[in-house]
């Protein structure tokens, strides 16, 4: 199994262990009554709570509040090492049955005297405090440092098992931190590839995606890792929101770049406008982040679907990936937004890294192939039979007919010049190719004392093809002993954007043995230039050897 599948699978497994761990958690927030009261009233035995309300709601900033809740040991499950978890945008003093239990910061009725508490606060309870009877938990808290109203001020108030809760919080941030580390590392690797190897904007988008995913994971884990006082909570929420925005634009940017490069900016800017639209709505932070993710996945899905319909390379894999992502998003809901997005997008980045490395290997293979073909062509024209026989001819004419020898040596040197020049190119014009063939025929005519001609029918302007394709066919015809005096014919035609070249050559006496070196060369060159988009067939017809080559006119 390749590493790009293994690593995400391992992460998924870790996450599964982390989230599936059942543990004691008795939320007290739902039965709590909240109202404004002085500190003394709040902790007194029977305050007037007629104006108070039950449940969790938005509290305006800059005030002191009281929360009271009845805890009945007979009705709730008491953990082995009971503890109270309190998480709120507030400084708080906690009393148990009217007696002081703990303080998270220092609440006050005026801002000057408040000391902000931590966003999350865990305090142990004695087992005996929970013995029988209903108990009263009262919390006096103030939120003077909260800069703006929020949809929710109180996040948690619950009875938990002290050890279990701490264990659980480690389990919840450990995979996230691990994943964030991985993504940071991948982003660094990609940055190195971008900087040192290939400045491709696809890589730039992936770097942005990987690093913003990593940062979002760090921001999410920050709370469990280090804790912080509640005024910083808004900053963290904003950070998460904007990171989600960056993730969304890099995800869509990546797909637009991949499939619609010319219209990149229009698409990208309009999707960005949509994300910004979500950010400025008065919805809760969590909902905005969720909506941005949803929109980013849907836009990406749309891009990939359209690319898939247009049969773009790799669009199918991308579409499947995004469908899985959408499924996970729907199934996991908020949990997707918290951690799972990173697993999924991390998988995407890894997959692309895999494809990128595959491309490097292909590039290397291609350049090796190109070198090989170049060498092959040159070697073929240095082939002893061609070279030494030609030199023997030159020698003979130097001695007997110097004028003839000069013209022959000129053709010969021209052949070498042209082949050296063309062998380095991946394509040459058909005109140049025909020129090369005619020059080769001059040499062969001199050698065999014939007068074979090459007739060209059709328009050869603006046709490009790999070097020495027709040359190789003509050469093959000679080396297979095309010993009659017939001419060569080339017919050029165009059909539905494809170029069709038909070469008719004198039929040789010796059989065409399967795949000669020349044929291998032609096939390798056509594959290199056109991938699978070419066609070649050869047959004997009316004493001629006919070869048909077809390839796309424009790539």
């Amino acid at each position: 199994m390749p590493a790009f599948i293994k690593v995400p699978l391992l992460l998924v497994l870790l996450f599964f262990i982390a989230v599936s761990n059942a543990w004691g958690y008795e939320s007290l927030l739902e039965q709590a009554r909240i109202g404004t009261a002085s500190k003394v009233d709040c902790h007194s035995e029977n305050p007037d709570t007629s104006q108070w309300v039950e449940g969790n709601f938005s509290l305006s900033p800059g005030q002191a509040y009281c929360l009271r809740v009845q805890v009945d040991a007979r009705q709730v499950r008491i953990p082995d090492n009971p503890a109270l978890i309190w998480s709120a945008m507030a400084a708080a003093e906690i009393y148990w049955d009217g007696a002081y239990l703990a303080a998270n910061g220092q609440p006050a009725s005026v801002q000057a005297r408040e000391i902000p508490g931590n966003i999350e606060y865990l305090t142990p309870l004695h087992q005996r405090w929970l013995d029988s009877g209903p108990h009263t938990l009262s919390i006096w808290f103030s939120n003077h440092y909260q800069p703006q109203p929020l949809h929710q001020n109180l996040y948690q108030l619950a009875l938990v098992d002290y050890d279990h809760y701490q264990h659980q919080s480690v389990l919840s941030y450990l995979p996230a931190v691990f994943l964030a580390g991985c993504l940071t590392f991948i982003a660094l690797v990609l940055a190195l590839i971008y900087g040192l190897y290939q400045k491709d904007s696809v890589i730039a988008w992936l770097i942005l995606l990987a690093s913003s995913c990593a940062l979002l994971l760090w921001a999410e884990s920050w709370r469990s890792l280090f804790g912080y006082t509640y005024p910083l909570h808004i900053i963290r929420l904003n950070l998460i929101l904007w990171l989600a925005f960056i993730i969304a634009i890099s995800l869509t940017g990546y797909y637009i770049r991949l499939y619609y490069p010319p219209r990149l900016w229009i698409w990208w800017l309009s999707s960005m406008a949509l994300y910004l639209g979500i950010i400025i709505t008065p919805l809760s932070y969590d909902f905005k982040v969720w909506a941005i993710f949803l929109l980013a996945i849907l836009i990406s899905l749309g891009i990939c679907l359209s690319a898939f319909i247009k049969r773009k390379a790799g669009a199918k894999a991308a579409l499947i990936f995004l469908l899985i992502t959408t499924f996970l998003f729907v199934v996991l809901k908020m949990r997707f937004v918290e951690h799972w997005f990173a697993v999924v997008f991390g998988g995407l980045v890894l997959f692309n890294l895999y494809q990128l490395i595959q491309r490097f290997a292909q590039d290397r293979q291609r350049s090796l192939e190109a070198d090989k073909l170049e060498a092959e062509l040159l070697r073929r024209c240095l082939q002893p039979h061609f070279l030494m026989n030609s030199l023997t001819l030159a020698m003979e004419w130097v001695e007997t007919d110097p004028e003839k020898s000069v013209s022959f040596i000129t053709s010969l040197s021209r052949e070498f010049q042209l082949l050296t020049e063309y062998s380095r190119k991946s394509r040459i014009s058909l005109k140049d190719e025909i020129q090369l063939c005619k020059n080769y025929l001059d040499i062969m005519n001199a050698r065999l004392q014939r007068n074979c001609l090459l007739h060209v029918k059709g328009e050869m302007a603006s046709i490009n093809l790999p070097p020495a394709i027709i040359h190789t066919l003509i050469e093959n015809s000679f080396s297979h002993g095309g010993s009659n005096d017939d001419d060569f014919f080339i017919e050029i035609s165009r059909h539905k954007g494809w170029i069709r070249l038909e070469l008719k050559s004198p039929y040789g006496k010796s059989p065409h043995k399967g795949l000669g070196i020349g044929m291998q060369y032609i096939k390798a060159q056509l594959t290199r230039a056109f991938g699978d988009d070419w066609h070649m067939e050869s047959r004997e017809h009316n004493g001629q050897w006919q070869t048909l080559i077809e390839f796309p006119g424009k790539i």
Binding site: P384, L387, M388, N389, T392, E396, S483
Partner: protein, 236 residues
């Protein structure tokens, strides 16, 4: 000298013919050559059906056909073969098939004449010492190691080869021509005999002043005129 030139490129065939003419014009004492040019293998085979020749100039690449297949058809015959080829790297392999010389293309007059000198000299050997001699079988051919050959005896136009393991072979080339191909340790002892001197133990004189060599238990007659030459060679 009847000479056949088998070469598919007309200008090169003409060159060979021209140089041949020039050679014989400057060597009037030799039996003059008469050349015939064939440009295709089939023509040459047809020609050989009707005519016997003394020397063949052979190109190893005829219209794309593999030269060694052609070589096998000619090298075992009674005439000498000289290869004229672009593939100089295959010279050693060609010599193993029993060709007299290998001229690499492109070739000049000096090199060409040297080759003809070899044809006309009994003492000039090929530049390469062959290890094996190709011998025709009913199907295909055998490569007999030269070191295994004890002595040779003329048999009409052919030559018998007598080997260490008591095996006998018949070669279509005359004893004179085979000696031109075999290494230096093979030498003529008699009009009809030649021996491998590596196996010559001693020179015996019988009653009546007849000389003979004992080669692997067989007595090979030695001509009086060649005794001094053989004594010299045995002491080398």
């Amino acid at each position: 000298m009847k000479i056949l030139i088998l070469e598919d490129e007309p200008v090169i065939a003409q060159r060979t013919r021209r140089l041949l003419k020039e050679y014989y014009q400057t060597h009037t004492d030799l039996i003059q050559g008469r050349e015939k040019i064939c440009t295709a293998l089939e023509d040459a085979l047809d020609y050989l059906q009707e005519n016997s020749i003394d020397l063949l100039f052979l190109d190893l690449n005829l219209n794309g056909k593999d030269g060694f297949e052609i070589l096998k058809q000619f090298s075992l015959q009674s005439f000498h073969t000289i290869i004229v080829s672009a593939y100089a790297d295959r010279a050693i392999q060609a010599f193993e098939y029993g060709v007299l010389d290998f001229i690499a293309k492109p070739y000049d007059k000096v090199r060409f004449f040297k080759s003809l000198d070899r044809v006309h000299s009994a003492s000039l050997r090929t530049g390469y010492e062959i290890k094996h001699l190709a011998i025709k079988r009913q199907v295909g051919l055998d490569m007999v190691a030269c070191e295994d050959i004890l002595w040779l005896k003329s048999d009409g136009h052919y030559t018998q080869l007598h080997c260490k393991n008591k095996k006998q072979y018949l070669h279509e080339k005359s004893i004179e021509r085979l000696l031109q191909l075999l290494p230096q340790n093979f030498t003529r002892t008699h009009r009809s005999y030649a021996v491998n001197l590596n196996y010559a133990k001693r020179l015996n004189i019988s009653g009546g002043g007849k000389y003979a060599l004992d080669i692997g238990g067989t007595t090979i007659p030695v001509s009086r005129s060649l005794v001094e030459d053989i004594k010299l060679k045995m002491h080398q």
